[in-house]
């Protein structure tokens, strides 16, 4: 049967071909893979630690005022840098490519330079990523006092009330309860002035009062 014959022959050929191909591909693959692995280890440490999809927002590392939820921030922001440029205190800093898809997005490191709530950045954002809101509506985060680290709460005789003094919403956002500071979450804007002013530094580098970005993870309303 000629048909069968042809079929067999074809199969044979195919087999031989694929075997040959397999060998060379696997060798090539192995070489490529080892070269890539070598390149990975040759790179410096920060380059290997690229976090492509992990949000850089954490304690004391906050988005500027009026920011949309973190879930949608990297897609809405066009990285035009106008909030960075307009900030008179240089508090807002853009990230670079090591933060993956968050590259170019603005952040405020409140321990270094806090937000003074001048509200210039929300006026210039062309995409609505920073929504045009009022100063008192700002919710960059919520200040949380570590009562174990705060000396006013810890020691009987200490009378530090720096956070109370620097707070732009004194007597509203931070009140004194028997000379000890207490944060009122209805009014705290999360500007980080208290963090910047706090004289106590914990062992882990954080302060006795820290701003937690609790509003960054709220759900998006489409």
């Amino acid at each position: 049967m000629p048909k069968m014959k042809f079929h067999k022959k074809f199969q044979k050929e195919k087999k031989a071909h694929s075997q040959k191909g397999d060998v060379s591909i696997s060798r090539r693959f192995f070489l490529m893979a080892s070269a890539m692995a070598g390149a990975m280890f040759a790179l410096p440490r920060p380059a290997r630690a690229i976090k492509f999809f992990k949000s850089p927002v954490t304690t004391n590392v906050l988005r500027p005022p009026g920011a949309v939820p973190e879930e949608i921030f990297p897609s809405k922001c066009i990285r035009c840098g106008r909030c960075v440029e307009v900030c008179p205190y240089k508090a807002i800093r853009p990230l670079d490519i090591r933060e993956g898809i968050y590259a170019g997005t603005p952040l405020i490191f409140v321990e270094e330079i806090p937000c003074y709530l001048c509200m210039k950045c929300v006026e210039v954002c062309p995409t609505g990523t920073l929504r045009p809101i009022q100063q008192k509506e700002t919710r960059m985060g919520l200040a949380v006092i570590d009562k174990h680290a705060c000396m006013t709460w810890n020691e009987e005789l200490a009378l530090c009330r720096t956070c109370y003094n620097v707070c732009p919403f004194k007597e509203k956002a931070i009140k004194l309860n028997e000379l000890r500071p207490v944060v009122i979450d209805d009014y705290c804007t999360g500007c980080g002035l208290c963090v910047h002013g706090c004289p106590v530094t914990r062992k882990d580098g954080k302060k006795a009062i820290n701003v937690e970005p609790i509003y960054a993870s709220r759900p998006v309303k489409w």
């Binding site: 949608i72 897609s75 809405k76 066009i78 960075v84 440029e85 590259a103 062309p126 609505g128």
Partner: protein
Amino acid sequence: MSKKKRNKYTTLRLVTLSLAFLLILVTPYLNLHYQFNFVQGWFQSLSIGNLWFVSPLEGIESILTSRMIYAPLLVGMLVPVLLAALLGRVFCSWICPISFFSELIDRFLSLFSKRKLRPQGIRLSKRLIWFALMGELLLALVIGAPIFVFLSPPGLVGREIMMATLFKTLAIEGVVVLVVLFLHIVSNRMFCRYFCPLGGLLALIGIKRRLVIERSDEECINCGICKRACPLGLDPEEDEAKSAYCWNCGKCVENCKVSALKFRWKDI
């Protein structure tokens, strides 16, 4: 034809390119030291007083990936889109800072070359630019985050200038600009011709543009100089200067010995 008239468009273009570059060079400085916020930003988003511009591709990416429409964003995109719809890809040839650097490189390279026109270099299919645009948008949708917003070469030039002025550092992604300029040294306007998604979008918007370069059949002697002069590797003799790919830089008009090519405002 006098020499002065022959370089009219190039001179004009170099002036606008330099002014545009000067604008993004001094704005961060003025913003930082004099709190002069009247002019702000760079070519991703620029504001002059209350007049706001947003780069169309960045705006479209933002709308597509966030699935939200913000009216001021659309208003900001209006002027660039109108400009592209009427004049074509003129942003690329008359404003873009990458074009500015490329022209500088061209002038520098011409010091070492006896040839008046740069050889065209590697030729690929012109249609690649549409694939660059589609691929870029698709990739952004797949990842769920815009990509061109932090890797666009013209935007990166502005960002690096701002970083250098404000924070005295540079961002790593500025390497993209160097790669693009290196590609230009390898082959004439390689990135702009084939890989720039923004150029692709502006070309797409300007597909029925009003300002075109028209060739008169009677005067053309088919010498082929326009083809060699075109920085995009188009052939005006085959009326490719009327196609969507042309960015109206006027190089072919200047180089034409018999003035067979002219800018023309097309009526509908």
